[in-house]
Every structure is written in C-alpha cells, then in structure tokens.
C-alpha cells in the first residue's frame, strides 16, 4: 500500500505508543512542523484506510471526562510500512543532499 503524506505522519505519531484521536492530530502537526494539520473527518478517513490495510488497530475504548476515547495502535505491518516509507524518503533525499553539502550552485538563467 502506498502511504499518503497524512498516512505517513499518522503512523509516525503512533511510533512511541498508542494515542487517541486528538492526540494523533496534535502529534502529527508537531512532528511535521505544522505541515500536516488534520481535520477530524480527514483523520478518521485516514485511520479507516490504515485499519482496513491492517496497519493500525483500535487498542482500547474508554470514557474520559464524559468523552468517548478511542486509542489506536501501530501493528507490525504498520511499523514495517512506516520504515519502508522512511527508507524510500531517505533514498530520495540522498539524490539531492550531497550536492548541497558540496556547495554545488545552480546556474542562473541569463
């Protein structure tokens, strides 16, 4: 399964343990430096698709402060999908980074 940007950051936010809906929204925004700001409907859409593909599971459901709180957890498949995507992104970045380090400057059009 191809991971979308949103799917990638949702999985990444679950690396350190299970989280509930709002915590995933906050964490995804934090680790993506504010780039991935999930609306609630979008979050549940992403979680649905990840769950159908077996990458996350519902860990528990409880009532906290009168609110239904569902926590989601990464599965083994989810972790390997996340790592595979991270490898892919890293190798894509490698094509560009060494040039920046060597100080190659793009030629300006005349």
């Amino acid at each position: 399964m191809m991971l979308s940007d949103q799917g990638y950051f949702v999985l990444a936010s679950l690396q350190d343990g299970p989280l509930h809906g709002y915590a995933i929204i906050k964490k995804a925004a934090e680790i993506s430096s504010g780039r991935v700001r999930l609306a609630t409907g979008t979050l549940y859409g992403v979680l649905d698709r990840l769950a159908i593909n077996g990458l996350v599971v519902l860990e528990s459901e409880s009532i906290v402060d009168g609110r239904a709180r569902r926590t989601y957890q990464l599965t083994h498949d989810g972790l390997s999908a996340l790592r595979a995507e991270a490898e892919r992104l890293a190798s894509a970045a490698k094509v560009v980074r060494p040039r920046i380090a060597r100080g190659v400057i793009a030629v300006r059009p005349a």
Partner: protein, 168 residues
C-alpha cells in the same frame, strides 16, 4: 463546543452512511469537541468540508469496489441529479458525477486522467449545446411547454433561444 455547535456538526455527519455513523459518529464528535475547544460556537469551514468530503467518500467506497461498480454508481447519481435539476443537466451532470465518483473511489492517476477527459467532454458538450439551437426551430428544453420550470428555464435568461417568446 456548545451543544448547538455539536448539533450542527451532527447534521453534517449525515454525509456518512448510517452504519458508519452509528459505529464512529460519537467518537468523531468527541475528538472534534477536544480539537475546537470548549467555547467554540461557530463551525469551522475546514472541519465541515472534511466531514462532507470524507462522508461522501465513505459512502462511495463502501459501494464501489471496482471501476465498473463506480461507473454504475456514477450513472445512478447522474440519473438522480437529472430528476432533481432538469433534463438539460443530464449529460453534463451525468459525466461530472461519474467522474466525481471515480476520483473519490479511486484516488490515483487513472482516476485523475478519466476525470480530466470527462470534465473536458462535459465542458465541450455544455458549451456547444448552449450556443447552438437545434436546426429548424427552438431547442426543446425538455420541460412541459406551459410549466413553471419551462418558463424559468427558457424565459429567465437574457439571451433567448430561437423561437422563444420574450418574458412579458
């Protein structure tokens, strides 16, 4: 969020299929509640949009499991839209709906190409059929000649098709 705002968001949740809403609706609203804060009283556009888009998407993906099923679904929606809006809408609206259903059910490059082709076809059809009255008389709008719909459709415009009588 205020109880009124919760009621507003609950209405937008109807975009989702009933079964999905019963299983996940409360959890979604509680997450939304946490994310907008206790004092929020007006709906946020990006939240509303995400409910409508994802709700419809959930509806479509739960019935469209193959491209064939997606086209069937698109045709059904096209027919429904035709009933609601009027016969002149049929081809343009039908094509658009098939395209929209496809792109929602299969959000990948294939769907994007199909969407582009259908959109252009719909645009061309709409443009041509609007500009050219059918040869030898007035173009039939499809509504009954004496009906309110016919008058609104044919006589409410600034430019009249050939043979139409101006509004008195």
């Amino acid at each position: 969020m205020t109880p009124e705002l919760r009621a507003t968001y609950t209405r937008y949740l109807r975009a989702y299929p009933t079964a999905w809403r019963e299983a996940n609706g409360e959890a979604l609203l509680d997450t939304l509640d946490e994310s907008v804060g206790p004092d929020a009283s007006r709906p946020r556009w990006r939240e509303v949009r995400s409910l409508l888009v994802n709700g419809w998407r959930t509806r479509v993906t739960s019935t469209c499991t193959s491209p064939g099923a997606a086209i069937r679904e698109g045709l059904v929606w096209g027919v429904l839209a035709t009933q609601a809006v009027g016969p002149s809408f049929s081809v343009v609206g039908g094509l658009w709906l098939i395209a929209a259903v496809l792109i929602i059910a299969f959000p990948n490059r294939v769907a994007a190409v199909v969407f582009g082709v259908l959109a252009v076809a719909a645009e061309i059809y709409g443009f041509v059929s609007y500009r050219q009255p059918i040869q030898g008389g007035r173009r039939d709008c499809g509504f009954a000649p004496q009906s309110q719909s016919h008058r609104r459709h044919c006589h409410g415009r600034r430019t009249l098709h050939r043979g139409a009588t101006p509004r008195v």
